[in-house]
Symmetry: C2
Amino acid sequence: MNVSFEDLHKAFENRVRLGIMSALAVNDSLDFTSLKEFLEVTDGNLATHIKKLEQEGFVEVEKSFIDNKPNTSYSMTQTGKKAFEEHLAVLEQIIKSQQ
Amino acid sequence: MNVSFEDLHKAFENRVRLGIMSALAVNDSLDFTSLKEFLEVTDGNLATHIKKLEQEGFVEVEKSFIDNKPNTSYSMTQTGKKAFEEHLAVLEQIIKSQQ
């Protein structure tokens, strides 16, 4: 078995963070409520994990107004995209090593 | 995207624990030194993570003597095997959702 476990990113180990990245990888941007409903997590839990991904430079936040209401949306950075692809590649190696 | 993130097992989030399970899934049993060398981790780090997997009932320990020297070997339990397969199935869903 030849799997580079050290290439797994610690930032993506947590399942909520893995979920955020998965959702943002297939959507250009998502607002807080959409992410929350998709992942079925609490506001506090989602906020904590988004903050962590922001700090890592993997997710960026855009604040705007939609119909005069404040809206916060999240998207993946290029760094985040690259790191997430590397992470998934290792997970894929792990799965293949078991087949 | 239809992925059951809640079916990911928290016990397998950590990459060392994911590594231990991956190694034990393809080897009937492995001793401490083999696991340590395979995962390139310290004794303390490996011991901590094996203990956690033991506590979850996913890994079992067998102590014996080989050539009069004490030997500790680890193997996956049936519960561990089932849980790990479920975990990998969700990871596979995530990867497929990105393709």
